[in-house]
């Protein structure tokens, strides 16, 4: 008799999801799928709204990465306005995005992933959570909480709100940086560096214990895409997109949001509300690619800051060519956090950072505009069409989690096939099936533009589709 395992809901993610694992008549894994089970419909209800409302509306897609939505949306609006924003506004936005990267990566690493990493995949699920980590490693718990607060506090200082700040607007930002705020941010930098030193050291000490997971956690050749600067340094806010293949060779570059229609496709599968994004010239599913920290570090040749550059050199030694195992997303996030803290410090030393000219003004000069930014989970694209009055007639959001969707599904299948034998599985094995999804740090609220928290479940089903086991968190 064939069987199906269901993990429903999958835990320690952002949003709602479910995993089903189908067994054949011998009890071996035949197929596995990661389902995103909610839908919200932001693209639809944006229609009819004035374009200049879009950043603040779109930020509501997500409570974790509203800054990325603000920035991508504002850039799409600026394409409609045909304006280039002032240098200081661009730098301030960049700093806001870096702060968000720190708080989101801290959430992913310390709150969501570290229970598996520090306590073990097989550890007691009753204590495999942030409290378990805090009890076991209080110094790391303190560092994690402090790093998240570091990012959130910068967002709060700049945007006057920790979540959904309305400071980023089409044309720039609403108000300049003050001396007091600049100095307050600078004062927090040394402690943030100390926290990262501790986190990286702890991660490097335990990473070797996960050799088996590294081998099978979505470890396969794929394409990668991210923003990168002209000097090949990492970029989260500006720059242009580059797509590389599994050997590290460039497939396409200089991609901007204006190329979406011809280069980026979105396929639909019946089992998920999240679309499956792919590179159109290669077709679907062959053109599927990965985004996020792993992709960014695989594509960038340099971070552009001293501490992070040392870490990048070490990271790139994990493989010849692009690092393929999604387990290394965790390491990549830590390297990016080091970079973000250094870059924030660099930006604050910009002689123009306190300049008062932070906004460009214009009306509708084009009827279509698109913008992109790197969200913590990967590339985020907003694309709008407007009428002569500036009212939105069409909107499309291409979200990081959709771009990683195919790889997440392949990863779930790879882990399930490796660990589930003869229809037998343990809680620890099912935790690994969830953990491979967690490496991508998907945001299902963003991916479906869906509402709510994210419990996730696992189902085990027979060849006759009978439900054999179900795990709800």
């Amino acid at each position: 008799m064939s069987q199906t395992i269901a993990i429903d809901p999958v835990t320690r993610l952002e949003g709602h999801g479910k995993i089903t694992i189908h067994l054949d008549h011998q009890g071996e894994v035949e197929d596995a799928r990661f389902h995103v089970t909610q839908v919200r419909g932001f693209e639809r209800f944006a229609q009819g709204r004035p374009f200049y409302e879009m950043p603040s509306l779109m930020a509501r897609v997500c409570g974790i990465c509203p800054v990325s939505h603000l920035i991508a949306s504002a850039k799409a609006c600026e394409a409609v306005m045909s304006v280039r924003i002032p240098h200081t506004a661009a730098q301030l936005r960049r700093m806001l995005n870096l702060a968000q990267m720190v708080q989101s990566h801290a959430l992913s690493f310390f709150y969501l992933a570290s229970p598996d990493l520090l306590l073990g995949m097989e550890s007691d699920p009753k204590t495999r959570h942030i409290f378990g980590v805090v009890a076991e490693k209080p110094e790391l718990g303190r560092a994690g909480v402090a790093l998240r607060r570091f990012g959130q506090h910068i967002i709060e200082l700049l945007g006057n709100k920790r979540v959904h700040p309305g400071w980023v607007i089409p044309g720039g930002v609403t108000e300049p940086l003050t001396v007091a705020k600049r100095d307050e941010i600078l004062k927090m930098i040394p402690a943030a560096h100390a926290g990262m030193k501790l986190a990286l050291s702890a991660y490097k000490q335990i990473a070797d214990q996960f050799a088996e997971e590294i081998e099978v956690f979505a470890n396969f050749p794929s394409y990668y895409m991210s923003l990168v600067n002209e000097d090949e340094s990492i970029e989260f806010t500006d720059g242009a997109l580059r797509l590389i293949d599994a050997a590290g060779d460039t497939v396409d570059e200089g991609l901007t949001a204006t190329h979406f229609t011809e280069k980026i496709g979105e396929a639909v599968e019946p089992y998920s509300f999240t679309k499956f994004t792919y590179y159109k010239p290669l077709g679907y599913p062959e053109g599927s690619y990965r985004v996020g920290s792993l992709a960014r570090l695989n594509i960038a040749k340099t971070m552009g800051t001293p501490k992070a550059d040392k870490e990048l050199v070490e990271f790139k030694k994990l493989a010849k060519g692009p690092v393929q195992s999604s387990f290394h997303y965790h390491h990549a996030r830590l390297v990016e956090m080091v970079y973000c803290i250094e870059k924030i410090e660099q930006i604050l030393s910009d002689p123009l950072i306190l300049d008062k000219h932070v906004r460009a003004a214009a009306g509708v000069n084009r009827f279509e505009g698109a913008g992109q930014a790197e969200a913590p989970r990967g590339t985020l694209m907003h694309h709008y069409k407007v009428d002569e009055n500036g009212l939105i007639t069409w909107a499309n959001l291409v979200i990081a989690t959709g771009q990683n969707n195919r790889a997440m599904n392949q990863g779930v299948l790879q882990v399930a096939k490796h660990y589930i034998k003869g229809g037998k599985f343990t809680e620890g094995i099912l935790n690994r099936v969830e953990a491979v999804v967690r490496t991508f740090d998907p945001c299902l609220s963003c991916s479906t533009h869906a509402l709510g928290q994210m419990p996730l479940s696992i189902e085990l089903r027979s060849a006759e589709n009978a439900l054999l086991a179900e795990v709800h968190r």
Binding site: T11, G63, Y111, L112, H129, F131, V134, V163, P455
Partner: protein, 153 residues
């Protein structure tokens, strides 16, 4: 300055002001913020109680958690002492109860406030909307009075 005046006071209000009565915490916080007698108080309005608040709690002497409640009649006020209690965070680990936050403060920073309370107001509606329903609105001045007394005791 007396010891009494030196007490570090923290009001943590939780809720979503776009969800009708869920915004009662923010409304109460706004009332307190206008009160000159409460000028020495730190007031924080959040949509969730998150772990990052633990340090702020650990560094306070008096802490009040204010929120809307779905499990008591509309407009009813519940005031209870809050004590640290470790809980299983379950599927979503970045929002916590006041008890869990106190436990986190104690574990991470080895400190707890001298006194902590939860003050909740029974909600009638969590639908989309920026105003409070009548019974919840009526409870606001009562809660504000209770908070004034708590912080001045």
């Amino acid at each position: 300055m007396t010891n009494h005046e030196k007490r570090r006071k923290l009001l943590l209000a939780c809720g979503n002001a776009l969800r009708s009565d869920d915004g009662v915490g923010a409304e109460i916080a706004a009332e307190i913020a206008q009160d000159t007698a409460c000028a020495d108080m730190k007031i924080v309005v959040v949509q969730q109680f998150t772990p990052e608040l633990a340090e702020m709690i650990a560094n306070s002497d008096l802490v009040a958690f204010v929120d809307a409640a779905a499990n008591i009649p509309a407009g009813e006020i519940s005031m209870r002492s809050a004590h640290p209690e470790t809980e299983e965070p379950g599927s979503f680990t970045h929002h916590l109860s006041p008890a869990a936050l106190l436990a986190l403060s104690e574990t991470l920073y080895g400190k707890l406030p001298a006194r902590a309370i939860t003050l909740t107001v029974g909600a009638l509606s969590f639908e989309l909307g920026e105003s409070l329903t009548k019974p919840v609105r009526a409870a606001v001045p009562v809660v504000v009075g209770k908070l004034r007394r708590f912080f001045s005791d």
